[in-house]
């Protein structure tokens, strides 16, 4: 069964979000998403400084099997991208919630946070999809 840490927030499109204390949020794809995609071979990250709108396609994760879009969970500016993934995209498979993070956003509108799912709601969504 897939793992959904309770301290994180999630989206219906299978991103996870970690709210950092400094007005930024770190984004990755969930364990469920990485397991569905399989062995990751390429990750295309958003450019530093680019302005993202919540819901916008902003990154791509590609496994041997398929390419999958990653959507910005929140509106804001990209302040960091995980360069480790250039040489080691498989980190998304092995450590989706920590070293496999994709990018970090400086939040523009904190009220958007309440749109995100908590771990319980996300786990339910995944369970439904598995049916």
């Amino acid at each position: 069964m897939s793992n959904t840490p309770s301290e994180l927030k999630y989206t219906k499109s299978h991103e996870w979000v970690r709210i950092e204390g400094d007005g930024t949020a770190t984004v990755g794809i969930s364990d469920h998403a990485q397991a569905l995609l399989g062995d990751m071979v390429f990750v295309e990250l958003p450019e530093l400084g680019s302005a993202l709108e919540a819901g916008e396609e902003c990154a791509v994760v590609e496994s041997v099997k398929a390419a999958s879009d990653v959507y910005a969970p929140l509106t804001g500016e990209v302040v960091a991208a995980n360069e480790l993934l250039e040489d080691a995209p498989e980190t998304v498979n092995t450590d989706a919630y920590n070293d496999g993070w994709l990018f970090r956003i400086k939040l523009e509108d904190e009220t958007e946070l309440k749109e995100l799912l908590d771990a319980e709601a996300y786990a339910e969504l995944v369970a439904e999809e598995d049916h």
Binding site: G38, F42, E62
Partner: protein, 367 residues
């Protein structure tokens, strides 16, 4: 409801991720497609290919029939039992209805293996064409088929299946042998495959398939899913029907000219007139290999920009052996050298290369 092969329970036992493929419930991987790919290149793996369609053809004029039906010439097999031939089956326009392997059998009949996805239209076409000949066609859906591939595939298969494999151990590549198992059931072993590695394709009664699979597992032959089957065949530069060619593509535009027997000139096979006309003007397009220079992944149906005009990728993936993205692409006949591929509206530099990309575990192109 999708159909299940005789090895369905074995896939579940090996924790396969099952998908619907051409109406069959098939394993796409058993955990990691990449590891399965490397397993075949470096050691030995096995594929359940029981969904493929096996046809036994016999009758007094079966050779004449097949010389008419197929673009390659089965007269090249005769009189050596067990010999195999790759061929396209064409329509009158020279388009490919399917590609297949055909074996010449001991009893002067032939065994043909065609794709699962094209079963119905193949059978309809073959039956229609056979009406003018004295030919019987028997679908062997009582057989299961297991492909064992990799540098250690032959040794491990011998260990797993014992004495029944003895006649197969001296087979030359692209030959097959009919023998019997301990229980007396028929066994057909061919030194063929779809990975670019050495190995066997084994046909046996469905009831025996589970035991053979378990014996192979016990000999450390790992199960391999359809996912790795696709990256392996792509590295090996082998076409996939429906992707790299179809009814609107001639073998001359699909890198398969080598499989068309134009000699003897008098052999009137279906599609010949169309191919002869194409040869006179020389085909406008050709199938080439592509390697992406930098990071990224090539996929089917991406636009290719060459100095001679636009083309399109027909199959593409990340090559686990090369660590780079590769593709097959149909491009203008004069295209060569550097090109660009459009991926998500960006143009990335790539180059046209001769394929195969990998054979017997070794890269065939300079990186």
């Amino acid at each position: 409801m999708p159909q299940q092969t005789p090895l369905y329970q074995q896939h579940l036992a090996a924790k396969a991720k099952m998908v619907d493929f051409a109406g069959w419930e098939m394993p796409v991987h058993y955990g990691s497609q990449l590891e399965e790919h490397h397993q075949v290149r470096r050691d030995a793996g096995m594929f359940d290919v029981s969904h493929m369609v096996v046809l036994d053809l016999a009758g007094p004029t079966v050779t004449d029939f097949l010389r008419h039906l197929l673009a390659n010439d089965v007269a090249r097999l005769n009189p050596t039992p067990g010999r195999a031939l790759y061929s396209c089956m064409l329509n009158e326009r020279g388009g490919v209805i399917d590609d297949l392997i055909i074996y010449f059998m001991n009893d002067n009949g032939y065994r043909m293996v065609v794709n699962a996805a094209t079963r119905d239209k193949d059978l309809a076409w073959i039956t229609q064409q056979a009406a003018a000949f004295e030919v019987s066609i028997r679908e062997r859906d009582d057989l299961a088929m297991i492909a064992v591939q990799g540098p250690n595939a032959r040794d491990k298969t011998a260990k797993a299946l014992g004495e029944a494999m003895t006649p197969a151990m001296t087979l030359e590549p692209f030959f097959a042998v009919e023998s019997a198992m301990m229980c007396g059931d028929e066994l057909f072993v061919a030194r063929t495959g779809y990975t670019g590695e050495d190995g066997f394709e084994i046909m046996l009664p469905a009831a025996q398939a589970g035991n053979a699979w378990k014996a192979l597992l016990a000999a450390d032959v790992a199960p391999i899913g359809l996912g790795a089957r696709d990256t392996l065949r792509l590295e090996a530069g082998m076409n996939l029907y429906g992707q790299d060619m179809d009814e609107d593509t001639s073998p001359l535009e699909a890198g398969l000219t080598w499989s068309v027997a134009f000699e003897p000139a008098g052999r009137d096979f279906i599609g010949r007139a169309a191919l002869d006309a194409q040869r006179e003007t020389s085909p406008a397009r050709k199938l080439v290999g592509l390697v992406l220079n930098g990071r990224g992944v090539l996929r089917a149906q991406q636009k290719v920009l060459t100095s001679a005009g636009e083309g399109e990728t027909t199959s593409g993936s990340f090559s686990p052996t090369l660590g780079q993205a590769i593709a097959l692409a149909r491009v203008p006949a004069d295209a060569s050298g550097a090109c660009e591929v459009e991926i998500r509206s960006k143009r990335l530099p790539a180059r046209i290369v001769k394929y195969p990309f990998v054979r017997h575990g070794q890269p065939c192109i300079a990186l």
